[in-house]
Structure formats: C-alpha cells, structure tokens
C-alpha cells in the first residue's frame, strides 16, 4: 500500500507559484449582432495625419472588400460541387406559389394590404397574455389523447362553420345582395370548386337566368367573394340559385340577389 502524504508548510504562499492569466472576458456575447460585427475600424488605423479625402477613400476601400467577401460567399455556395448541395426546391416552390397567388391577387386584397392594415392596427404594444401556464406532460400510448380538436386559443370570433360572402356586381350598379354568408365547406375547398346554379328569377323561373357567377378567395375577410355579372337588359326582380362545393351533394346555401326598379 503506497501513500504519499502532503508535505508540511504551505507552498501556496510561495510568490513564485504559477497563476492563471486573466481571461479576455467572462462570458459570451449574446447580442444579436454578435461579436463578429463589421470589421471596419471606427477610426483609421493609421497614426499619420490623413486628409478627409484620403479617409473617405480608405472607407471606400473597406466597403469594397466587404462587398467582395459577401459576393464570394454567395458565389462559393453556388459553385460548390460537393455532395451537400443546398437544394433549390424551397425557392422554386415560392416562385410557383407566387404565380398562383398573382391569380388570386387580381380578385382580392393582396397580402401586402393585409400587412399594411396590420401595421396600422397593431400600433399598440401588447404585453404577453398569460394563457394559463400549466401544460400537461406528453401523452403516452396508453393514455390516449383526448379529442384532437384543438383548444381554440383565438378569441371566439365568428362561428367557424359560417363563411362570409361578399357579392360584387358587374353591369348593375344598383343591385343588392341578400346573402351574407354560406356554410363553410366541410373539407378545405378551392374557390374554383364552388359553383352556383344559374340564378333563376323568383317571379319567372323559366325566364332568362343570371348564369355568370364566379367565386374567389377573399383573404382580407377570410371568406369568399362572389362576382355576379348581370347581362344588359336583365329583368328586374329577385334571383336565387343553390351554391354547391364540388364533391358534396348538400348545398352550402342559396345565393339571392335583387335587381331593383
């Protein structure tokens, strides 16, 4: 059994004892700009007297290299032929989505308008609402999850089964709509899948109907827009037609409009 006991006396008081160097700092830099901020020095790194013109030129010099480094990074990413190439797909789907969206844009409020409205409406700062902090532990296989209908955390606005309808008319400035809402389709549906039967006149079912009804998405109101094109010389009165969504025999409701005297 070997033991080595400590020696007597306190070696620690020996002024020659080696000590750690002071660290550069004592913690990480957690600001969002990070420590690797722009490398351009705030003052010129030269002790010489330089004229403002020269100082300006040096600043230009720093800008040029910064721009080059940034471009080089992008170019290198494109040039890379290695195995791990960033897939182009997310960008392309955005392009495709944009094209589809431009169609919708022609008929309804754009997302930019939505942003704009939100900007104006959300001027006030809101403190984080305390929605009740307790969160249940993760479900286990045996304790099967309760009904997966989501706990609706949004304030109960409208009844979600109702879909708002805005009717726009072409060719009949005094026309009025008597339908403000329809049942929301049970499955998510495209506006193109929603159709209306030709609107028949209430007083004259066999007469000339109004056939041109087109539906479009209205993102600003989370509903749909119905565009009714009224032909010249259409008789006055009330017109109605059933509205269906493709794949569902049960109509969503009835679209009723009025052409006044």
């Amino acid at each position: 059994m070997t033991t080595r006991k400590g020696s007597a006396g306190d070696p620690g008081q020996d002024p020659e004892r080696a000590k750690r160097p002071d660290p550069d700092r004592d913690g990480p830099n957690r600001t969002s700009t990070g420590a690797a901020a722009s490398k351009r020095p705030d003052e010129l790194p030269v002790d010489l007297e330089v004229s403002e013109a020269v100082a300006h030129v040096v600043k230009l010099g720093y800008d040029v290299i910064a721009e080059n480094i940034q471009q080089g990074r992008e170019a290198a990413a494109r040039f890379r032929h290695g195995k791990y190439r960033l897939r182009e797909t997310p960008h392309e789907i955005e392009v495709a989505a944009q094209r589809l969206l431009s169609l919708a844009r022609e008929l309804s409020t754009t997302t930019f308008d939505v942003c704009d409205r939100l900007l104006r409406e959300l001027a006030a700062q809101k403190p984080p609402p305390d929605r009740g902090k307790s969160v249940p532990a993760f479900y286990d296989q045996k304790s099967a999850a309760p009904s997966a209908k989501p706990a609706n955390s949004a304030p109960a606005a409208a009844d979600p089964s109702i879909m708002k309808v805005t009717v726009l008319f072409e060719g009949a400035p005094k026309a009025k709509a008597h339908t403000a809402s329809l049942t929301r389709p049970r499955k998510p549906a495209a506006p193109a899948d929603i159709t209306a039967q030709p609107l028949a006149a209430a007083s004259d079912p066999g007469g000339k109907p109004i056939a041109s009804v087109m539906f479009a998405a209205d993102m600003s109101f989370d509903g749909i827009v119905a565009r009714v094109s009224v032909p010249k010389g259409q008789a006055k009165g009330f017109y109605s037609g059933l509205v269906h969504v493709k794949g569902d025999p049960i109509p969503l409701g009835v679209l009723t409009i009025e052409l006044p005297e």
Partner: protein, 353 residues
Amino acid sequence: MTAAAALAEKPGAPPRCDMAGAMAAYGDATRAELEAYLNAQPRAPFLDDLLADYPSRGGKMLRPSICIANARAFGGELETAVRCAAAIEILHNGLLIHDDIQDGSEMRRGRPTLHALHGAPLAINAGDAMMFTALRPLIDALRPLGGDAAEQVLDVSMTMARETAEGQALELGWRDRNIVALTEADYFRMALKKTAWMGMIWPAQLGLIVGSRGRADPQSVVRFGYFLGVAFQIEDDLRNLCVDPYYGKEMNGDLFEAKRTLMLIHARQACSDAERARVDAFLSLPRAERSPDEVLWLAAMMLRLGSIDHGRAVAAAMAGAAAHEFTLAYGGLPPSPDRSFIAGLSTWIFTRP
C-alpha cells in the same frame, strides 16, 4: 517622417526584419525546388527552354516568400511550404506569359517577352504547360496533409482564379469599351481582383492552409492581403509615372496604355471640364495614336492637380490598414522571423528596390 518609417515605428510592432535577406532566402529555396521540378520532366524540344526562361530571369519571388512565411508562421515545415511556393511561382510565370501576350508587351525584366522571342503560338503553349507543371509540386505538398487541406486549397484557388479572371476581364472591358467615368471604388475592386487575389491573398492562404494543416481559417487573411495588394498596386503605378523607370518597362508606359490608375481617376475628377474633355479624348484614341506630347501634358496635369500626392497618401493609408489587419489576422501567432517578415511587408512595399 515618411509613411514607411512611421508605420515601422508603431509601438508593439514586431521586430524589424531584414526583408531583402529573407526574400533572398525564401527565393533561393523556391528556386531550387522549382528547378528540380522543371528538370524532372523528360526533355521536350521547343518547350523546356521556354519553360525555364521566365523563372531564370530573376524576379523577387514575392509570392513564394509570402507563401513560405505564412506556412511557417502557422506552424508548418519548410519542406512542404517550399513545394507550395514552387507551385505558385510556376503558375505565376505561366500566367505572365499569357499576360504579356494579352497586353502586347514587348519587354519583361529587361529582356524581350517570350512571345516576342518565339512567337505567340509557342509562348501560349509554354504558358499552358507551365500551369500544368505547377500541379505536381502542389500535389506533393498536399499529399501528407489529408483531404481537408486539399479541399481548402481547391476552394481558395478556384476563388482566386475566378477573381483574377474577373479582374482581367474588367480591365480589358474598361479599355476596349473606353470606360472613363471610373471612381476610386472601381479601382480598388479592380486592384483587388487583378492584383491582390493572386499576388497577396492567395499565396498567404496557401501558406496558411499548408502550414496549419487545414486548421486555420483562410478567410482570416483576405483583408490583410487585399490592403497590401492595393497599396502595392498603387505604388507600382506611382513609380511608373515618376522619372525613374524600373523593371525595364517603358517610362510612363501606363499613360500610353491609358491604364486606369488611381492617379488618373483622381486627376480626371479634379480637373476642369475642358481638361476632362481632353483627357477623355486621349483615352479614346487607339494606343498607337497617343502622342508623347499628350502623354507629357497628362503627366504634368496630374502632378499639378496633386494626383501624385493623393496617390501616395492613399497608398500609405492602405498600407496602414494592412498593418491593422495584420494584427487581427496574425496577432495570435507566436512571434517568429516569418511573422516579422509578413509584418514587414506593409512597409517593404514602399522601400523595395
């Protein structure tokens, strides 16, 4: 106090290095390695003499020196560093051959250019051959270092190649399409791409990669090499304008070439409208029609407008920026003669023969 001296006396600067002596040593080591590789090929008529020509004309071996110094400063051994340097020098000479053809130059280092001696086809061929020859010492340098280092070398070399090509295209474009309304930023961009990348940044990066065995970050020396390269280029251009011809080039050759130097850009911005019209007319002439009188007028105007002084001041400021960037990039390395050499480059630019 001159700019050079002022920079050298900065407190905390590394000990002064005998730049000439160091470069001679780096150069000799490179030359020996280079000759070994060039001689190792089986003899080919019409080629070998051409291959050996430019390297034999002397030259300061600035790029190889930068490479070797960086390699050793980052902890590498001389043997590997020298192979890398030889590759750089061979490549550089190959490009010089092509450059001279492109520029239509007739002299290099006091002797006729290669294509002047042997005709363009043989010279082009020799240039190509040199570039391939550069691969062998490079591969030998990289072999023991592993895949990571090799990949980094490829990365930085592709970047350098792209930048250099862009720089040359830029300059040719300015000339061929007679672009006159250029700014200092344009000049820096061009100097960066055409001179700094291949002359300063890339040799430093290769040295860094080889010396640190792929551990250090090649990005860290980009700014330093850039400012150094720009200062170097301005100084080159200044010397061409002044009375003292060097490198055996023609005096005021740049003006005849209508080279868009910083001084020319400054002069063109500072002069009167009438003078500018005359400058632009001069620039738009074909080279053969630019008269020595007009050249002298242009040179005198530049002197009068302070363009020369401006150029000197900017060059000094660039060198100062280089010195600052040196601290950022190399400050963490242990002191060594090689590191002192790198530090000394900021002032050597102005004091070199």
